[in-house]
């Protein structure tokens, strides 16, 4: 039942005192005439309403969440405790810098740690999410080419296996996407890349994740970034998959010029049912003067005092959002970075890769692995084309079967280069016991596909609702509650 259906006029929460000054109103011409229909609820009913909603949701605390490319690792509770400190929640973004030294320190320390982890020279915390970071990175590349007097560089190379946000961000940056097909091993096709790039003065750059969306580390990465640089382009690293390589390989050393990270993936901040995330962007020195927002410096230019202060990049491309990004998310990420430290961070990646390989090897007999890698990184892609052909059971059916077993399904039908894809990313925060249980469920569902496929077509049956009519929802959109 919707909150509006539970509303009863006259109920409410006793939040505010009476107004202690004379009550005044704007002129008649600006007064609202349309009626309000906000819920009128006693606090107890409100509390129960949201408890009920929580029961109909699935968080990392509810069970295994191997959602590929999303890095649904456990979100430490200490992060939340720290981000709730009044020293962080109750400071105004426009307070004088001398009164927000702690906030500036959070931004500075996080930037420095992320520079070290990625091999970049500077970071901005302003982008609010991964896609926002991609857009930022592309604008950096655009600003760079414009400053070099090369406005014709508008073509950006994106592999066919890339996240959908990559091409969408490119368009927002006024760039045209060139798709380059991958090899049958799931890697960048060097010949095709050369063909596109050689002597091409319209190339703005390349967007790539490494490891890629198939969970494979591209061993030719240096050659790839060299090809792009040779034709005058810049290389953008989509940090969605950084959890595989922290402390092992750095985008900066791979030849990338700028990166975005997802603090809500790699650095353990919660996804919130779809945000708030945080998508800081880092770059090498030659792009730093175009950075958006502000950076933290050690001296206040205004007063000459040795306090932390904000400074703007000389040829800054502007502001990605108001203020300094999703600050409290940055606080959580810094807490996590400090807890793990120099050993814990590579340790996390090691175990993420171990867990993925363990699961992949155990499932290999029952499920075909896309591109048949010997070793994967933090995730792997199953291809259910065989099951689909032999039993009619699709990746979607297996995913829905997992729901009845309290496991959040892997990412479905991605990357687009694999037809019946299920992309699993177990994360380092899962134990062998959890993995073993999940492996058994996967194997049982595969058996079920061959013995009783209809059961899987009907799944899920234990969830609050069964499969929903998405076509109907799009054809006859009901996008809000209609009051009588």
């Amino acid at each position: 039942m919707l909150v509006f259906e539970k509303s009863r006029p006259g109920r409410g929460v006793s939040a505010l005192p009476e107004c202690d000054v004379e009550i005044l109103k704007p002129e008649e011409k600006d007064i609202r005439t349309s009626e309000l229909h906000l819920p009128e609820m006693a606090e107890v009913d409100l509390s129960r309403h949201y408890t009920e909603l929580a029961k109909k949701a699935h968080g990392v605390n509810d069970g295994f969440y191997p959602l590929g490319s999303c890095t649904m690792k456990y979100n430490p509770r200490v992060n939340e405790k720290i981000a709730a400190l009044p020293g962080f929640t109750d400071v105004h973004p426009l307070q004088p810098v001398s009164t927000v030294q702690g906030c500036l320190r959070v931004i500075k320390e996080t930037s420095e740690a992320l520079c070290e982890i990625t091999g970049m020279n500077q970071f901005t915390m302003q982008p609010a999410a991964g896609a926002h970071g991609e857009f930022t990175g592309l604008l950096l590349i655009k600003a760079y080419h414009l400053a070099n007097g090369e406005p014709q560089r508008t073509k950006i190379i994106v592999p066919d296996s890339a996240h959908g946000t990559n091409p969408a961000s490119a368009v927002m940056a006024g760039m045209e996407v060139i798709n380059v097909d991958s090899t049958d091993k799931g890697l960048v096709d060097l010949d095709k890349l050369r063909e596109v790039c050689e002597g091409n003065d319209q190339i703005a750059g390349l967007m790539l994740t490494n490891p890629n969306t198939a969970g494979l580390f591209d061993p030719n990465i240096k050659e790839i970034t060299d090809i792009i640089h040779e034709c005058g382009g810049q290389c953008y690293y989509d940090g969605a998959n950084l959890n595989a390589v922290m402390g092992w390989a750095r985008p900066g050393d791979m030849g990338f010029d700028c990166v975005h990270l997802n603090l809500h993936k790699t650095f353990s901040t919660p996804h919130g049912g779809g945000g708030p995330g945080s998508g800081p962007v880092g770059c090498k020195e030659h792009l730093a003067k175009f950075m958006p927002g502000v950076k933290v410096v050690d001296k206040d230019a205004h007063s000459g005092k040795d306090i932390l202060s904000f400074a703007k990049a000389e040829e800054s491309l502007g502001e990605m959002k108001s203020f300094y990004g999703n600050f409290l998310v940055v606080v959580k990420a810094l807490t996590y970075i400090k807890m793990l430290g120099k050993e814990g961070i590579p340790e996390a990646s090691k175990n993420a890769v171990l867990n993925a390989n363990y699961m992949m090897q155990k499932l290999k007999g029952a499920y075909d692995m896309a591109f048949e890698p010997e070793v994967c990184m933090h995730e792997f892609v199953m291809d259910l084309s065989r099951q689909a052909k032999e039993t009619g059971v699709t990746a979607m059916d297996i995913a829905k079967g997992l729901l009845d077993n309290n496991i959040h399904p892997p990412t479905m039908y991605f990357p687009l280069t694999v037809h019946e894809a299920l992309m699993a990313e177990p994360c380092e925060t899962e134990s062998k016991e959890t993995l073993d249980d999940a492996i058994n469920v996967f194997l049982e569902l595969n058996d079920l596909a061959y013995s009783d496929p209809e059961k899987l077509h009907q799944a899920p049956v234990k969830t609050p609702v069964t499969r929903l009519d998405e076509v109907g929802a799009a054809r006859h959109p009901v996008l809000k509650y209609e009051f009588e």
Partner: protein
């Protein structure tokens, strides 16, 4: 070192052995040497939870928390009922992913559907999306949405929040839209300048109401002027807290209502996370960026909710998507939903009325002590001018634990009152300033 890895060293070895490897490093053997990191990361050693709690508390304490705040300018301190924090701390709601798997995400989806309904109700619009990053990006995305093949120009009022203007500029730098700023006259959008700038290639007119200086715009007239060009859309950026009292953007004739949702239950938190809301009239719904939740039924005819109209979105449309947005601010939308439900109709009218009344009381008191108030028709923010240097004013207040208004130049200050500012607080400010 702190760790969140549950597997013991022995278990790790056991797992490695089972899959035919000797040591963990072997899993990284295929990374070429020339890109492999030599040596350790140059980071401090890890810490226990107790140590990190102490260290972060020290950092938090380096900030000054003002109990009394008279500064707004895009971030507003309002009372947040306890239940808001309580609900958004629920671990399930807090740690869930974007609700792609609808069958196990009904709680998140329903909360977004309720949020969309409340935003439509507040703004008078037909359709709301599930949120964007903040008020600035909401404005910028709305401007970008209005672009047509022959309408590539946006007219934006010079009286909007400066940081929002900068975000719009940045998005226009990306997509190549032309941006023209409408002049400001007497603290408001200059209607004559707007009229002069109207042309067939104008895609949209964007204003903020109340504007950056707190003034109420001639919002209905601006709408009429905007609509005098055939394809031009009218976007209003509004502070949602004012909508308990002020006309809805729909009543003023807007096609889009956008804004910063932070005043609806989110802490000021040094600028984020906040939430951008976006709502439109029905005919523009397929151009809205981001997630939208719709109602439908399951196989058994039971009512349920799904992400819908996904043909607009990046994961389906890639380079043809209406925006690249993927993660938005769902947990903040949840906070907004809880806040509006806790406040209810009377609560939200009460907040708006108190903001308005207190700001007018404070402005009157300022005039009594010789400050000039620039505004005639304002909501809960206003600008004062005085001969006293702003630094002297703000320092005197700061010493009394009060964060004064935002300095605009050496003699002008932008003040804000909300329901949090008591009459006694206001009188105290006036008493202090009488002395300086």
């Amino acid at each position: 070192m702190g760790t969140f890895v549950p597997n013991t060293k022995a278990q790790q070895q056991e797992m490695l052995k089972e899959i035919g490897f000797e040591k963990l490093d072997d899993l990284f053997a295929h990374i070429p040497d020339d890109v492999k990191l030599k040596g350790d990361l140059n980071l401090p050693d890890g810490m226990s939870e107790m140590e990190v709690s102490r260290e972060m508390k020290i950092i938090a304490d380096e900030n000054i928390v003002y109990d009394t705040i008279f500064r707004g300018a895009g971030a507003y301190k309002h009372y947040i009922p306890a239940i808001v924090g309580n609900v958004i701390s629920n671990e399930t709601l807090q740690t869930a992913y974007t609700p792609y798997q609808a069958e196990i995400s009904q709680g998140v989806l329903q909360s977004i559907f309720e949020y969309q309904t409340m935003i439509c109700d507040l703004t008078g619009m037909d359709v709301s999306n599930a949120s964007v990053y903040d008020g600035g990006t909401a404005a910028a995305e709305a401007v970008a949405m209005c672009r047509e093949r022959k309408q590539n120009k946006a007219l934006v009022s010079g009286a909007i929040q400066p940081s929002v203007m900068k975000v719009i500029e940045t998005y226009c730098f990306g997509n190549g839209m032309e941006l023209e700023v409408i002049a400001v006259k007497d603290g408001k959008t200059d209607l004559d300048d707007l009229k002069a700038k109207m042309a067939d290639d104008v895609a949209c007119v964007y204003i903020q109401h109340p504007n950056y200086f707190g003034n109420l715009e001639d919002a209905a007239e601006i709408g009429e002027i905007a609509h005098s060009a055939k394809k031009c859309k009218y976007i209003m950026g509004v502070n949602p807290i004012t909508l308990g009292v002020l006309k809805t953007p729909r009543e003023y004739g807007a096609d889009f209502a956008v804004g910063e949702g932070q005043p609806l239950g989110l802490p000021i938190a040094f600028g984020g996370p906040y939430i951008g809301f976006m709502a439109s009239i029905d005919s523009m719904k397929r151009k809205l960026p981001g997630r939208i939740v719709g109602q439908t039924t399951d196989h058994n005819g039971k009512i349920g909710y799904v992400l819908t109209l996904q043909a607009r979105e990046q994961h389906i449309r890639r380079e043809k998507a209406s925006s690249n947005i993927c993660s938005n601010q769902a947990l903040c939308a949840l906070a907004v939903g809880v806040y509006l439900s806790a406040m209810g109709n009377e609560g939200i009218k009460n907040v708006a009325t108190q903001c308005y009344s207190k700001a007018h009381y404070m402005a009157k008191r300022f005039e009594e002590i010789g400050f000039q108030v620039e505004n005639k028709d304002f909501f809960h923010e206003f600008v004062t001018t005085s001969d006293t240097d702003i630094h002297v004013i703000l320092k005197a207040l700061s010493e009394a634990g009060i964060l004064g208004g935002l300095p605009l130049d050496s003699h002008r200050i932008l003040w804000c009152c909300t329901e949090m500012n008591s009459k006694a607080d206001i009188d105290r400010v006036i008493d202090i300033l009488k002395e300086v």
